[in-house]
């Protein structure tokens, strides 16, 4: 079928584009009134027509369509690919310096069950990413190949973003409608990224210029929002998206939440050009805020509940920047400059506050040259930040440690300072027979540390055949603590890590992909973040694992992927190894989506062995305050029960003239043994129970596009 979005014409030009990616459609036949013409490679042709004429369009591999001419001088037509010409998407077998690379795009973000149209949440369904209990504390953190959440870096268009999720895990801070694709490099990544001993997640915005004004509107059980993209003039175009939660509008405030959580984000772009060459100005940001009782009022007696202080919390970030990119047969690259403001303020009504403000200037350039079989990646990254932290500690700080970590640590501070970070990198890539060798080097420096940190990296890929690749790579990685931590504890050691990964990528019939990969990390001075004490480094850490993956995809029709991951992550404390926070011995899952015309069916199943946690083994009665102080057992010496979750999705698309709407109904199913969200204890910590989430839960959402 044909989706016709716009523009009418008088006489002259007809432009035919692919509905999915906007690419020109070659050899499209346009017929009107006995006349006809065929498009060339740019998807264009000239043809005389008048207002009211009906153009008949057909092209190999596409559904035929028609278009009624209006007042304009150009007719632009979008054709949908014919069902027999489905595009098989094969992500593997690409020679990149990143040994492991997982890619998801907007289609998958929008249609994966349990994903709630959220690109970042989709990352949690990828191999190597720990399967965590949704909506439990910390569930929004990405634990990737045994690393702690703070070990990983998250970028949007080359700019690191301060935090990923609104209000725990309810929604990520950027809308999927603006994303082109999102890449995950779980470990042993190339030299273009650094200051991380964990993983890299990089999201990229869509750069395809709109041919006409189009947009989306969406509503879920948490947020509502919309986006619009529009051509402006010549090659200029603009994009805008905004979302806002409405819990604070729809729900009445409670004694526990006198001000309901309110969160919002926006993404504004002014672009010139397209994917091949363009320049853009962008501004995006997110904000979160709420007021809650610091204690859990239900667990307190009425007098103590009256005494419980209120936490007034707000955080947000704003990014303003510019980007220039180019893509040519022998070179491509991008230059990104941005200023990021990140603020976090928490104030307790009974005294105690934490205020963190950071201005960060960030720039990076990534270039690639391809000359005579060589491919050279080179670039630089420079970051300068000015940070200020004020902490007035409070005895109630531990109650709000999740929002205000320094209040939880109970440490007064009034510090500020600047910090500079810089890095140069280069990766050369050359084939020797079937072997592709990609050595790289990253030289990093940080004003908070002395010396230059050399980080050699190497990736090799041996093409056994055009459908089989053996790969092996690794390198040295470093990471400094966050600026606020370094302001308080400038002597925190730099974390270092040697990492290696290797395996086999196999494609069958150019369709079905399999991957088997092993990886290992050796970490010195990993940083741990106790909830009630300042961050500290421990002696060593180590992690290893193996992942099996399989995927199959027909773009806009069907995709399925499955994975199984085995891993072990440990840290050395007091000369003994114990499980690291991110240790998940086994995880796996299956994701599938099937588009049946107007209907879409989706399934996601995830399994994860229980993550470790530190049990309470006793208590001390504090007679001065009539409270029991818990006594923790050995760190991470027990585990949560295994977690399983099934998400089912059924969606129906309604098409109207010029726009379409989709309503989706999802349900999650969690076995009773997996419904435990987190442990709780009785008054003196002699009994332990669980807070349980629902085992079956329906969710309704909808969106519209024009």
């Amino acid at each position: 079928m044909v989706v016709v979005w716009l523009i009418a014409a008088l006489a002259g030009e007809v432009i035919v584009r692919d509905r999915t990616d906007g690419d020109p459609v070659d050899q499209a036949l346009i017929e009107v009134g006995g006349r006809d013409s065929t498009t060339s490679k740019d998807g264009r042709t000239s043809l005389a027509f008048e207002k009211g004429d009906v153009l008949q369009i057909s092209a190999p591999g596409y559904e035929p369509g028609q278009f009624t001419v209006g007042n304009a001088t150009r007719a632009k037509v979008f054709l949908a690919a014919h069902p027999t010409a489905l595009e098989v998407v094969v992500e593997g077998l690409k020679d990149t310096p990143n040994i492991t690379r997982h890619v998801v795009d907007a289609e998958m973000a929008m249609e994966t069950a349990g994903n709630h149209e959220d690109a970042v949440r989709l990352v949690q369904s990828l191999p190597g990413v720990a399967v965590q209990r949704e909506y439990a504390p910390g569930a929004g953190d990405l634990v990737i190949r045994g690393s702690s959440p703070g070990d990983s870096r998250y970028y949007l268009d080359g700019v690191e973003i301060p935090y990923l999720y609104h209000y725990n895990q309810y929604a990520s801070v950027f809308p999927a409608s603006q994303l082109d694709q999102l890449e995950l490099f779980p470990s042993a990544f190339g030299a273009s990224y650094g200051d991380s001993v964990g993983a890299i997640v990089e999201a990229r915005s869509k750069l395809t210029p709109p041919e006409s004004v189009h947009g989306t509107a969406s509503a879920s059980f948490v947020m509502g929002g919309g986006s619009v993209q529009a051509p402006i003039h010549d090659e200029w175009w603009a994009s805008a998206a905004a979302r806002r939660s409405y819990l604070d509008i729809a729900g009445e405030s409670s004694t526990q939440y006198p001000r309901w959580p309110r969160f919002a984000d926006y993404n504004l772009r002014l672009e010139h050009g397209d994917e091949d060459k363009g320049t853009g100005l962008f501004g995006w940001g997110a904000s979160d805020g709420w007021t809650r009782a610091a204690g859990e009022l239900d667990a307190l007696d009425p007098v103590a509940a009256d005494d419980s202080p209120l936490l007034d919390f707000a955080q947000g970030f704003q990014v303003l920047g510019a980007r220039h990119h180019w893509r040519q047969p022998n070179r491509d690259g991008r230059l990104v400059l941005a200023v990021v403001h990140h603020g976090r303020a928490a104030e307790l009504s009974a005294g105690g506050e934490e205020d963190f403000q950071q201005w960060r200037f960030t720039s990076r350039t990534d270039t690639t040259w391809r000359i005579n079989g060589w491919s050279i990646d080179a670039g630089w990254e420079f970051i300068a930040d000015q940070s200020a932290l004020t902490v007035e500690s409070s005895p109630n700080g531990i109650l709000v440690a999740e929002e205000a970590p320094w209040l939880g640590r109970g440490q007064d501070a009034q510090v500020s300072g600047w910090r500079g970070q810089g890095a140069l990198y280069s990766t050369a890539s050359q084939s020797v027979g079937n072997l592709r060798i990609m050595p790289g080097l990253r030289l990093a420096a940080d004003t908070s540390d002395i010396g230059l940190l050399p980080e050699p990296r190497l990736a090799t890929r041996y093409h056994i055949s055009d459908q089989s690749v053996l790969k092996l790579g690794g390198g040295r990685y470093h990471q400094r603590a966050d600026s606020d931590e370094l302001l308080v504890q400038p002597d925190l050691a730099t974390t270092g890590s040697w990492q290696v990964a290797g395996g086999l990528e196999q494609t069958i019939a150019n369709r079905l992909e399999f991957g088997l990969e092993g990886w290992a990390k050796w970490i010195d001075h990993p940083v741990i973040h106790p909830i009630d004490a300042p961050p500290q480094t421990v002696e060593k850490g180590r992690a290893k694992g193996m992942e099996f993956t399989s995927r199959y995809r027909l773009r806009e029709r069907f995709y399925v992927w499955a994975w199984l991951a085995l891993s072990q992550s440990e840290v050395l404390v007091d000369r003994a190894y114990r499980p690291a926070d991110g240790d998940q011995p086994i995880s796996g899952g299956l994701v599938g989506s099937w588009d049946l015309g107007h209907w879409n069916l989706g399934l996601r199943y995830r399994y994860g062995a229980g993550m470790p946690w530190t049990p309470i083994v006793g208590s001390v009665f504090d007679a001065s305050s009539d409270r029991w102080i818990p006594v923790a057992g050995d760190d991470n010496s027990t585990r949560f029960p295994a977690y399983q979750k099934i998400d089912l999705r059924i969606a129906h698309r309604f098409e109207f003239k010029g726009w379409q709407a989709q309503v989706s109904l999802e349900a999650w199913i969690v076995p009773k043994t997996s419904a435990q969200l987190f442990p709780v204890w009785n008054y003196d910590f002699t009994e332990q129970g669980w807070v349980r989430g629902p085992t079956v839960f329906p969710l309704l959402s909808g969106n519209a596009r024009f």
Binding site: S254, V620, V691
Partner: protein, 330 residues
């Protein structure tokens, strides 16, 4: 952060124990006073749900400095047995109490900040509320609604009645009373005032989901009052649906006791709230020796129920002895 989700969707299994219920073995409170020279500490020990025991609770006290970890402290105790008033050493800012209860392998631990002041005597005053489990509505149990409830002097309370307890003591503004009892359900009202339903009363939002009256018998109430620099505690017994002969000793019930300063011989009685009953009574004179010389525990003066609650004396050490007792009507 997850509180919102919990508010909307999650649930939690109820625990089998409640901090308001005197049951099992525990250090329920510690009185800490400082008279300007010495520190005095008095624990309140609950042994198998009672404020007395036939077996000794082994007590060990240690001074702790700011950096000492009360959870892992294992060095030799500075004092074993009941506390002796002492001047605190300079390095100390807390005291650790290890209490090994009869039948327990592991000592229970309590810490208390060194006191800086004293608190006066405390009296517990119950008043009757015109409410009963059979008819009370959830909305009547809100704090504002209860503040408007009038009280009358208590007489004989029946199972299912609601009472208001006031801890009468001169305290600082930051003082808080913590109420415990052998039965019933507590609803705190003000820093030193709380209401007690003589039964199990469970409120879920606007609905009462359980309202079961307790059985007739004796109810023991223990209140701990803490404020910056000092703490104290007090126990009292209350008859519920029974009318027995006897009298109160410092608000604790002694069956068959006659009012006034008396010589009393004690016998063990598991049904009595103090575990003791009075027999063979006679008038006493305060100038006479008090009879404590014959006890195997270090106490002086007329009999005090706190000797049992503090672990200074076991019931076995008191039973079969003849001591002076000041018996009152309340």
């Amino acid at each position: 952060m997850t509180l919102l989700f919990l508010t909307l969707f999650a649930c939690q299994d109820p625990f089998g124990s409640d901090r308001h219920t005197l049951e099992g073995n525990r250090i329920a409170a510690i009185e800490a006073q400082f008279d300007g020279s010495v520190v005095s500490l008095r624990p309140s020990l609950v042994v198998d749900g009672a404020l007395w025991s036939d077996a000794t609770v082994e007590l060990a006290w240690s001074w702790l400095g700011p950096d000492d970890n009360a959870a892992t402290w294992s060095e030799a105790a500075n004092i074993t047995g009941p506390w002796s008033p002492l001047a605190a050493p300079q390095h100390a800012n807390r005291v650790l109490l290890l209490a090994t209860f009869p039948g327990d392998d592991v000592a229970k631990r309590a810490v208390i900040d060194l006191p800086s002041t004293t608190l006066g005597a405390m009296v517990l005053v119950p008043d009757a509320l015109n409410l009963h489990l059979d008819s009370v509505e959830a909305k009547q149990l809100g704090q504002d609604q209860r503040l408007r409830q009038e009280t009358v002097a208590w007489t004989l309370q029946e199972p299912g009645d609601l009472l208001r307890w006031t801890a009468q003591i001169d305290v600082a503004e930051d003082a808080r009373a913590h109420w415990m009892s052998t039965g019933g359900t507590w609803f705190e009202l003000a820093p030193t005032i709380a209401d007690l339903a003589l039964g199990t009363l469970v409120v879920d939002g606007d609905e009462i989901t359980q309202a079961d009256a307790i059985e007739a018998g004796w109810l023991t109430v223990l209140v701990s009052v803490t404020q910056t620099g000092a703490s104290t505690w007090k126990a009292a017994d209350l008859p519920v649906g029974i009318d027995e002969v006897g009298g109160f000793v410092q608000q604790r019930w002694l069956p068959d006791a006659q009012l006034g300063l008396r010589w009393v011989e004690f016998v063990a009685d598991d049904a009595a709230p103090m575990g003791l009953r009075a027999i063979d009574q006679g008038p006493a004179d305060a100038s006479e020796p008090d009879g404590t010389d014959s006890l195997g525990c270090l106490v002086t003066g007329p009999f005090s129920p706190d000797w049992l609650a503090e672990g200074r004396c076991t019931r076995a050490q008191i039973a079969e002895h003849r001591l002076q007792v000041q018996v009152e009507s309340w």
